[in-house]
């Protein structure tokens, strides 16, 4: 029986072109690929855990050095909480589509040089600063427009 098996394998291996069709060949290929993938995943996991350790150490250093900064656990918690915060995408779309036009309109309309009165000039200067700071926020620019309208008109 054993002799028969060895003869079979030798005939399989000796025939040219047939060695690719043997199951042992494909098994060895599969095993090697599995080993490589497993090794790579272990390498990534180790690298990641090392990075996290370094970061935690750095954060703890930061918390020691600055009194008002957050500690590492609260920082990681804040990152986890950030996952579940809801984002107003319609507001984002307004910022993308409308904020630039409104900004250019407001910055021209309420430019301090347009107001000769001293108090109005001061208010316009402060408003212009706020308008520049909130250049990309449509909702804030709208609120500033109303504020400017009530104060300067």
């Amino acid at each position: 029986m054993l002799l028969q098996l060895t003869v079979d394998t030798t005939t399989l291996l000796s025939s040219p072109g047939d060695w690719k069709s043997t199951p042992s060949f494909w098994l060895s290929i599969f095993g090697t690929a599995q080993l490589i993938v497993t090794g790579y995943l272990i390498f990534r996991l180790r690298k990641k855990s090392k990075l996290v350790k370094e970061l935690t150490a750095r954060v703890s250093e930061l918390t020691v050095s600055s009194s008002d900064s957050l500690n590492s656990s609260s920082l990681s918690e804040s990152l986890k909480e950030a996952r579940h915060t809801s984002i107003d995408f319609s507001d984002l779309m307004n910022n993308i589509n409308k904020s630039e036009a409104l900004y250019s309109e407001l910055i021209k309309k309420y430019h301090p040089d347009r107001f000769l009165d001293e108090t109005k000039n001061r208010i316009a200067t402060e408003l212009s600063k706020e308008i520049v700071q909130n250049k990309h926020s449509y909702s804030r620019l709208k609120a500033l427009e109303q504020k400017a309208y009530s104060l300067l008109n």
Binding site: K48, A82, I87, F89, M93, N95
Partner: protein, 132 residues
């Protein structure tokens, strides 16, 4: 065993949350285009992202959040940059993108393969956790 189970639950909830972010963005972009507020239809999709911008929360091969102009008027370079800056200015959104495994923000026009990209962790402002 329980940790593996929690990891699996976490992975699925994260994947769902990522899909929700992309879907909400696309829905808002579609409504603003249909209502006539936007001249160009934008679409968000998940891409590979830049390997140079990777951070410890990055998803493997899924680190890019690409905003692409689909139809309507083609966008100029300064418009691509302004879209990117507006997204980057939204601190809550940037934090959410980072925590869900994105590391690169890409803004592309409808024509060609050129676009702009930003490293998200530089704009996170998470108390020095990623910026230091």
């Amino acid at each position: 065993m329980t940790s593996v189970w929690y990891r699996m639950i976490d992975w699925f909830s994260e994947a769902k949350e990522r899909i929700n972010v992309v879907r909400d963005f696309n829905r808002a972009a579609k409504y603003s285009f249909l209502s006539g507020e936007a001249q160009t239809l934008l679409q968000a999709r998940i891409t590979r992202g830049s390997s140079a911008y990777r951070h410890e929360f990055s998803k493997f091969m899924q680190g890019g959040f690409r905003i692409k102009a689909l139809s309507g008027r083609p966008l100029h370079r300064h418009e691509l940059i302004s879209i990117g800056i507006i997204v980057i200015d939204n601190e809550m959104l940037v934090r959410k993108l980072i925590s869900l495994g994105w590391d690169t923000l890409e803004v592309h026009d409808s024509q060609g393969y050129d676009g702009c990209k930003w490293e998200l962790k530089k704009h996170a402002k998470i108390g020095g956790y990623l910026n230091s």
